[in-house]
């Protein structure tokens, strides 16, 4: 079965990103397909490669990136939500005249159409958030 995952909450805020991660991992372990993970609203903060959590804490961003690497996940960050919150990749830096980028390379910035497509293409859309 094809799942799409939507995350509306940032890392270390409450538990949504953790729940989504464990759900995604469990779905993959059962042989399901993850069509896309879409990061929306404050969820875009899950994509910052500049986070440095304490060593004895989980690294939410790296953990997503590793899972994406292992399973070739498509992890999409909403562009409008990203712009508001200062989440920047090379393209956005150029377009908006910013002097730095902070997106972890396994994530990509794109539009809300990617969420709509995921909702249509996947058998189930599971939403995690506040």
């Amino acid at each position: 079965m094809k799942f799409a995952i939507q995350i509306n909450e940032g890392p270390y805020q409450h538990q949504a990103s953790d729940s989504a991660y464990h759900f995604t991992k469990a779905a993959l372990a059962k042989g399901h397909e993850i069509f896309r993970v879409f990061f929306y609203h404050d969820g875009v903060n899950n994509a910052s490669r500049l986070t440095t959590p304490p060593q004895d804490d989980r690294n939410v961003v790296e953990r997503w990136a590793e899972l994406a690497e292992q399973h070739d996940l498509d992890m999409v960050v909403c562009v409008a939500a990203a712009q508001r919150r200062g989440m920047v990749d090379d393209g956005e830096a150029k377009r908006n005249g910013k002097d730095a980028t902070n997106i972890q390379s396994r994530f990509r910035i794109s539009g809300l159409g990617q969420l709509v497509e995921a909702a249509i293409q996947a058998d189930r859309l599971v939403v995690f958030g506040d």
């Binding site: 538990q15 729940s19 759900f23 469990a26 059962k30 058998d123 189930r124 939403v127 958030g129």
Partner: protein, 102 residues
């Protein structure tokens, strides 16, 4: 076919559990996760509405989140089933849609 409803906030923090229980159709499933697990505890002020709902819907609680908050399964309202993340995936796959009450 029926829906899986997820509630991730405590009934003592938000009204999402109540809103969910007022809207679920007979035969649906409700999964309590994160702080939502507080809604699964026996003897709380929120327990009555959950007990009433159990007559027509199935209620599940995510075991990991229950344990993380220091509660054993002996604290649960009778009739609530414990699932792990794999069980959550199964519930989502078995339902025809998943509705998150955020």
């Amino acid at each position: 076919m029926s829906k899986l409803h997820t509630v991730n906030k405590s009934p003592f923090e938000k009204s999402s559990l109540d809103a969910c229980l007022q809207h679920v159709l007979d035969g649906a499933s409700v999964l309590l996760l994160e702080d939502g697990v507080y809604g699964a505890l026996r003897g709380s002020a929120a327990a009555e509405s959950v007990e009433r709902a159990l007559a027509s819907v199935k209620v599940y609680v995510l075991g990991e989140d229950l344990k993380a908050r220091g509660f054993g399964e002996d604290r649960l309202i009778n009739g609530i089933s414990v699932v792990d993340y794999a069980g959550f995936v199964d519930l989502a796959a078995e339902a025809d849609a998943v509705q998150a009450w955020l």
